[in-house]
Symmetry: C2
């Protein structure tokens, strides 16, 4: 492995000069030229380990996601990766498999270990999370939840759900049911359900509390909850879900119980999943700019890390949404 000293010797300068050349310090034109050639000749690349030890910065960003195989998360990650790549950082990915305690574990690991900043694609934010975020030694940005006192990039789930509920209320005859997710997930659990209920109520068609079930983000859980709903109350004619994935499961359940024919609009979701759009002709759902949220969050983080002028640093950012197929 060729190191800086070798380059320096070949160029007839000190290694300090090479370092300055690389990092833009004082260096005369002719030495710069000789160093440049020596580097090309030797194929030298500087050891990021040594650099990291000396400077304390690794150019690594830790990204914590709840689950990698979901369309929303992969799109967020794609956005994060885009920005990181463009700005000379790399992504250390940690997948918690929907276990909130592993989130804490990784927050810990990342702090003591080698990242310059953290992006947390958040689901449940407990007090312990809050404390961990608070005491984090590197800057951190949350995606998907709006947490007081932390930098967040999020969507207004309450408002979106409200609009969806309002829009659907008039359009559905028969009873509407709802499959949500745990309210510990404030955005996807609490806000979406509350917003949806409020929207229905505002349109004069309130949600029957007996027709609410809880899923776990998975297609199968949506299927199971829907089967149960349909068997409990045969008048249920529409099932709103907290995610498109669960809506897909619900749709399958409806198909099985009722047959395929009966109208197109029988479920709604959140996320505007591409498969669902193609295969059903489009259920009512909410489109979020997932990629954008990854991009925005990462730009914000790197701006504070790189000390970009004119950027006010970490702040909270609410992104827009769009109702689809209503």
């Amino acid at each position: 492995m060729v190191k800086m000293k070798d380059v320096a010797e070949l160029a007839g300068v000190s290694s300090a000069a090479v370092s300055r050349y690389l990092n833009g310090g004082y260096i005369s034109a002719d030495k710069a030229e000789r160093i440049k050639q020596a580097i090309e000749l030797t194929g030298y690349v500087r050891s990021s380990q040594a650099r990291a030890l000396r400077t304390g910065s690794t150019k690594l960003i830790g990204v914590i996601v709840p689950k990698i195989n979901s369309e929303s998360v992969s799109r967020i990650t794609a956005g994060i990766g885009q920005v990181l790549g463009r700005r000379g950082y790399q992504m250390l990915l940690a997948n918690t498999d929907n276990a909130p305690d592993r989130e804490l574990e990784y927050l810990d690991l990342f702090q003591n270990h080698p990242v310059d900043g953290i992006v947390l694609v958040a689901t449940m934010i407990t007090d312990e999370h809050r404390r961990a975020i608070e005491s984090c030694r590197v800057p951190i940005v949350l995606i998907g939840q709006n947490v007081e006192g932390a930098a967040c990039v999020y969507h207004d789930d309450y408002e979106a759900a409200f609009e969806l509920g309002q829009a659907l209320a008039g359009r559905v005859d028969g009873k509407i049911a709802y499959i949500g997710v745990t309210e510990e997930d404030r955005a996807a659990g609490y806000d979406r359900r509350r917003g949806f209920e409020a929207g229905l109520r505002a349109a004069g068609n309130p949600l029957d509390a007996a027709l609410i079930r809880l899923g776990s983000f998975t297609l199968d859980s949506g299927y199971g909850a829907a089967r149960e709903l349909l068997s409990v109350d045969p008048d249920v004619s529409f099932i709103a879900c907290a995610t498109d994935t669960m809506a897909a499961g619900a749709l399958r359940a409806i198909d099985e119980v009722r047959g395929t024919g009966e109208g197109i609009h029988r479920v709604s979701g959140f996320g505007d999943n591409a498969f669902l759009r193609a295969l059903t002709g489009g259920i009512p759902t909410v489109h979020y700019g997932y990629l954008t949220s990854g991009v925005e969050a990462t730009n914000m983080l790197l701006n504070t890390l790189d000390g970009v002028e004119g950027e006010s640093g970490l702040k909270t950012l609410k992104l827009g949404h769009q109702l689809m197929n209503v």
Copy 2:
């Protein structure tokens, strides 16, 4: 930041002793106890940067994927992450967005930079790739392609496609069409098409070369190709696709042109996508253990890195497959 020297002083030993304690060298029981307490007291964690500089190992594995938002890739990544986490490594994720030259770029970046090994989820393997893999200074495992001279974990796409073709040949009346992907992707492009053709031929129902189209892995490309096929030849009654995602697009095209009613089995794919399974009742497709391939590849890689006894190191591994819904 508390460092090893601080711990050593507090425990009344040398920092070498602390290092030995941490890495399992000679250490007496009572000093071990004192060191343990000192570490707990100070909350010391060792700097992975310094360790990396000294030992040359970063405990980081570079993972190069063509596209993060696809079900197959996310499942592979999930498998990789599982093993890495369990064995004390972390994942440096690089997303090439389907640009093969960015793959090369990352191979380069990773070698010179801080990874101990590389997992490449491969699509197209050009000669340049082969050279890059050959000259790679860290061990590397490929997933998804079988490349001579490199360690690979892959599925037998030819055989799977053959079986699928054979099984479908008898079951379809009317013409069968095929939407493939670029043959530069040997596994998903070349092998699947050739295997499928061979399977049809073996069953006495050969594929009409005029009914072959090329997609680009996306749902929309499947849709477009299918629209074209249907308009070119109205007798086409079944469209086999190289991926489930394209099959979803084809299905939408068929629905639009022909209406929904006409029989269930109208397309086939590869990958056993969960949405497709739920929303269509299951098209003929091939199930691959994507998660398993991530797990196997990573175990192989880490076994050679950690010098696990009884493991013959990097080798090539062919995983099984399963025909679904035929």
